[in-house]
Point group: D3
Chain length 252, copies 6
């Protein structure tokens, strides 16, 4: 089975840098996959795309060096199974509120006897290879998003769930959970404290810690802080900001 | 009929700043349309997209302030008619080599008795309004690309073709036409001379002059040089450069 | 944030007239949006379309005067979040059976602290504007469909759920719930009584009352009866009936 | 090979009534195919759809009683071949100006030795059956559109081209060709005279005469006048008119 | 209503032979439908396709002799309703673990008063006919997949659920449930015993027994063993195996 | 630039074995690319697919070992440019009738000064790499199809055109050109003689000789005969034949 390069990065105690696709197009995903990211996450939650649009995006990523992962729209057994069968090498699941949620997530991502994933990796075989079944449980990364009041409260129990690879912070929702505006102020409490708490809890439980950033600056600081996996921003916002900056410069 | 804002900009002797879509997706086109460009051109020539993909992109642009235009893949009567029927308010046509080419282009863009465009503006009515037919000939912009040895040679005759609104430089192909590398060195001869020549010929013939740039810097200088219409770069290259720069900054 | 014109109509005590899209195509949605309806609802429940097809339809509606809304296929947190992120300004949710169902629906449509909607309005920003977050909770309309035996039984409790804007009758399912054929006989009991009951309960609770009609005649009478929001019929049935009538007239 | 029902209708001296699809969707095409039309024409010229969108539309028509035909966007050998390979049982070709144009059209539609169509009817086999090759030349209908000044001038020569089944009037373009507005005034000269002339020339040359109408009334009168094939209107205009009429009636 | 040919086959005590589509394309589905199968199942569970891709596939099957069925991705009321509305004449539902699961499945497939399916068969009317409602409950086949430890344990209770037409074995997941490799060894215990047990239980309860096979040989033996419905394999594996065999033979 | 593996095969005097895609789907193309073929050709001529459908298919091939090539629908400068920009590493062009046709084909495939290809390899950069321009002219294969009476007549002149890599036989059209049925009888005159003639002429002119076969047997014999490039058959026919054979075996 094609190895998961992210596991090698994490084993080497390096930081993985992620791209994120909200634009529902395979050429755009391929561009992202060729931009130097260690992984590119296809976003089915907030991106205007769902399971039919995600397939050619995951296909396009297979020709790049970026590990294909997906954020599901919900902790749904059927949807997660479909994303893995379509070749995703990792699942980022939003709004994990409890250990039960995390256990259900892990179960959806692992074949029996570890979990209850159904067998039929149609595209998994193409991306991973003919020995997909033998190695899938050890190759696929499972990330639980911590971004709600209950998720924050149950953080330690979530981190303790066997089979979970890491927790992943959604800083906008986490800000809302903390009673502040969704535009993340990562240097100020209460968000700064919460980030530190998630990072510490993850590492204490021997779990990875990841975070979606919304700017290069944010990502740099999260990397320095010790997060194992930092996402730059999504393609839509990167493009829009660069385009707006270009227009402004030309018009000036 | 909804007015063509570009005409107002040109009438005011201002420079129009253009975006360019090579990513075949309507959400991406919509993002571009909301980024501050005066127009966004859907690129059917080099973008990996054709007539079926272009339709939702043109639709998405209709909800933005950017004037929807299209670059056709060839000087094809049928293709140009379809793009106009789909709501494009301007056509940028590649590889115009002669006055005959330019006349054929104009004919495809104008209803009789000016040209030979066939009547049936299915989406033109939606973008333009019920009085589309009465005003289309005066509203739609026709741009002839100057980018081949013959096009450069026949520049003055091309500019003289009635009904043509402007000429538009493709600097990469023009560089190849001049015997140099396609990565445009706009400050150096022979390209710098050719740009000056096109600009002068256009203005002498009372035509607009436009140019596709591949960077903000290039666009700024072309604006300063006097081009009426400068295109920033395409969405694919803007995104890829910004993503690569982000990764590099985070990894550093 | 772009205002929700339906709210202005309801504030003025006028009836909103709705279109309904079951044809999974953005050009068709755009035609519907230009046909004079105050809103057009993209139907993910019975229309042969789902989340990937809905996106360009919602985009197309953004260039028209019709307020874009969507009927979700189920009371699903993930699906409703996606439709709102894709720019819908209202959700019509089928088969609300209880106050708990209605509360879950409201929670999915409202950001914290009112509800639990996750933040990331990718297309919401484009349709609504950069201040989307500040106003979304007050701008988006939430409609609970009353169409099952339990929904009818729990009507008053449903109407009392805070944050719900209105109830909306599905007359075919409601007919089945009442033990009669799904072809709605709106002038006869038991359906006529049920319609009156829903309308009265809604208004008593200071909620709006809406209804899907299957003909112009039905819609006219519902408007006269006092419904705040009447839907003409869906595009598929309007087209098929008009086409069949045309063929019959020509063949005669 | 599945017979072409239109040939039976024409052999019986009856009028064929046609539907016309400009909405690029297969469910919409299927609705049209079930509406009672003898044939449904997928419009690649003015409809916002091209070869990729046309395939599922032609597939959908195969499950209905309507004979699938297509209007190509231009008299293009490659495009016409593709439409036939995709299962179209007839081609309506716009802007036939001369006998040479008509001969090229016929050649594209017929296998050698009659024409030069290339062999490979991928979907033709599915719609037509395994004996497709043996009967295709005799089954597929070829229509030349008469709608330009030159086409009108060369009408008799066009009608005389062997292998052509019929001529087909585009009344809007023909109006423009005659120097009047594209909204066809079929009861008044010069259009009324031109229609009579085309009809007479076609029948004199033992060719069928067809016409695109834009209303039921127009179609009824063309049928009475003797046209063999009358098209009601396209799906987009039928839907929009019915929707607008519905809104107006409900709002009144 | 168009009859369900599978019911005639089962009534005649014959074996139905099924095709299975994992390739998300309507032309491919049409090819499968013309290949001699009695039914073709569109696979939304393991196929890289979901509700938007399934619609044109179901449309394509309507022009063939194969009965269109679908495997849903989960026992989801909304998804099953959508597949039936889109014209499926049968649902194969994965991972039925209990009688409660089976009752929920039946309820989603049947209109009141038998079940709770919502009314609005947009494409059901086109495939089935205008009398769809009157006959749908008696025409649509409901299959519960037996493939988990709990499903096997509760087999008899599942078979006893009223309204269920049959059980259907997923031999790979069932192998995993039995603690062996997912590559089904149908001639060896424990799988052979489990197959015999499912078949016997189904027939004892007067239910049909179906099974997904992964080779012709497997299917032949299951037919001989008495299964009422045997699926050959999916299109993806049939194609890949035939292509690989062809390459090997040519290269040799 | 990523090397063209076919060139290595031809340099080693080995036979390249090709797959061929008529099914317009990227997952199917990816399956074909993983089936052992040295190259897979996306067929825009007879496959029911065009430029928008071809893009994700070419993307999918980039993750496999098969060299992506395309058959254009016609000798069209614009279409050929688009296929190359989309990443095709070779063009198979139908119906080359003369040396002029072949020269036009070569010109469309090569950058100046060799040809007139326009610069803008949007996806070429992704598949080939950043040094695409420097090597494209030497990497891309150009095949002229010999399949018409005139093509056969002008065979030697066609083979002599500089820049052409090979000729490629379309045996069905060639059979028609020879006055026999399109089902190719490759062992019998006149087709057997024509095949020998094309092969000899190609090799005499130091050109490669390729052929589309319609069965494994045909391909084996063409390989033995000395063809450098043999295509097995297309995916649609491979699938349909295997499916039909499976049904027949199970039903027996």
């Amino acid at each position: 089975m094609r190895p998961n390069r992210l596991q090698q990065i994490f084993a080497a105690k390096q930081t993985a840098i992620g791209g994120w696709c909200a634009i529902p197009d395979s050429y755009c995903a391929e561009l992202m996959g060729h931009s130097g990211y260690d992984t590119v996450v296809v976003d089915l939650q907030h991106g205007p795309l769902y399971l039919d649009a995600a397939v050619p995006m995951l296909q396009a990523l297979s020709s790049t060096d970026a590990v294909p992962m997906a954020r599901c729209s919900a902790n749904s057994f059927g949807e997660i199974n479909k994303l893995l069968d379509a070749g995703a090498y990792g699942i980022v699941c939003p709004m994990i509120d409890s250990a039960d949620d995390a256990r259900a997530l892990v179960a959806a991502c692992r074949y029996p006897p570890v979990g209850t994933r159904s067998f039929g990796p149609t595209r998994g075989f193409l991306h991973g290879g003919p020995d997909y079944f033998a190695h899938a449980n050890d190759t696929i990364l499972v990330w639980a998003m911590i971004e709600t009041p209950r998720g924050l409260q149950n953080l330690e129990e979530i981190c303790a769930v066997p089979g979970l690879d890491g927790v992943f912070v959604g800083p906008s929702d986490l800000s809302l959970a903390l009673g502040v505006s969704p535009s993340p102020k990562w240097r100020q409490p209460p968000l700064s404290d919460a980030l530190a708490r998630v990072l510490a809890a993850a590492h204490r439980a021997d779990r990875l810690a990841g975070i979606f950033c919304v700017s290069v600056e944010f990502a740099i600081e999260m990397r320095q802080m010790g997060f194992d996996f930092v996402v730059h921003a999504n393609d839509a916002s990167i493009l829009r900001e660069a385009a707006q900056a270009g227009v402004a410069a030309i018009r000036r």
